[in-house]
């Protein structure tokens, strides 16, 4: 286990985290970073399929998007944008703390990132449960009740409920739901990082996992940066 680390030229101290097929931790870090960026590229393309569905449906049913936008509360979306941007800041700071070997700050920023991710999901839960309780589901299950319709702005209330409202919400739940699953996965990863960091695994010589999870987390933030205006703001 320690033999390759002793042979290593790049890193000074032996470490249990160097895989045997890498010359040194620097090479290992560069390789894992490239692998992670390739994964992020595939994530971009994965979400692009959904953005395409959104674009096609919007291009063909512009009036529907103008109507359905009033079913979403932009304040909730803006709050969640601020929460995710702050969690991204905290995640980027955790990488800095690991690089500098500042364990106290590392633990604090990892916990803060996890906490803010939790806040995001709580806001999302309130949004989803409010809609579902009032019959705003997806597909044929989208039958908004009288109480929900009464809460809409007067100009919107006067309009008939469009037939295809359920398809808009199918796209909405699919895109925000998949994004939400990514947030939950990220929370799991931050719990794992917290455990490892409290064990003292990370430092200036070895912080690859902190960096990798932060990169993933920033991509989740970027996807929300696009989802927010597309669903909540432009009608």
């Amino acid at each position: 286990m320690s033999a390759p680390a002793v042979r290593a030229t790049g890193s000074a101290e032996p470490t249990p985290f160097l895989q045997p097929h890498f010359e040194n931790l620097g090479a290992q870090q560069e390789a894992s970073k490239l692998g992670l960026w390739l994964f992020l590229a595939s994530e971009v393309l994965f979400f692009t399929g959904l953005f395409t569905a959104y674009g096609v449906y919007r291009a063909n049913h512009q009036d529907l998007f103008g109507y359905a936008q009033h079913f979403l509360d932009w304040r909730m979306g803006a709050l969640n944008t601020a929460v995710l941007v702050s969690s991204s800041l905290s995640a980027a700071w955790s990488v800095r703390a690991a690089q500098l070997g500042d364990r106290r700050t590392l633990l604090r920023t990892l916990a803060l990132t996890l906490l803010l991710a939790g806040v995001f999901m709580v806001v999302k839960y309130f949004e989803y449960s409010h809609k579902l309780a009032h019959g705003v589901g997806w597909g044929a299950a989208c039958q908004p009740d009288a109480e929900f319709l009464a809460s809409l702005p007067e100009a919107v209330r006067a309009l008939p409920v469009p037939d295809r409202l359920g398809t808009f919400f199918a796209i909405y739940y699919m895109m925000t739901g998949l994004h939400g699953i990514h947030v939950l996965v990220g929370m799991g990863l931050y719990v794992w990082l917290l455990r490892r960091a409290s064990r003292g695994d990370f430092g200036p010589g070895y912080y690859g996992p902190v960096d990798a999870v932060a990169l993933y987390w920033h991509l989740v933030d970027i996807i929300w940066i696009f989802l927010f205006p597309l669903f909540y703001l432009i009608g």
Partner: protein, 116 residues
């Protein structure tokens, strides 16, 4: 960039972001979020979509360059990201060209079928 660690490139070990860069990036991102909300209140027609997407793209670029360290990384990682974005734009653009180009004739056909 006054932080002594901020100057180290990939050749001399990892790049450490300074608190100023981190807080500045987050500040600009929050500011742009406020801008995109305010602009959406002004009715510009279809230009609203363009403005919203332009601001979102700018925010995404800031996250990638600073939070994701892309500004300080090896060029190849930038190639990976830009390639994926190019293909993403190609997919959306060509499918949208198709649907906007043919939708009119589909509607015509439907109308004719109905009167028949």
């Amino acid at each position: 960039m006054t932080d002594p660690h901020a100057q180290t490139g990939p050749a001399h070990g990892p790049h450490v972001l300074s608190p100023r860069t981190l807080l500045g990036t987050a500040g600009v991102l929050l500011g742009l979020t406020a801008v995109t909300v305010l602009v959406s209140r002004i009715h510009l027609g279809e230009a609203n979509v363009v403005v919203a997407l332009a601001i979102a793209a700018l925010k995404a670029t800031l996250v990638a360059l600073f939070f994701m360290h892309l500004k300080y990384e090896h060029r190849f990682l930038r190639v990976v990201l830009i390639a994926s974005v190019v293909f993403a734009v190609l997919l959306v653009a060509f499918v949208l060209f198709d649907t906007t180009q043919y939708q009119g004739s589909v509607r015509e056909h439907e109308a004719r079928a109905r009167t028949r």
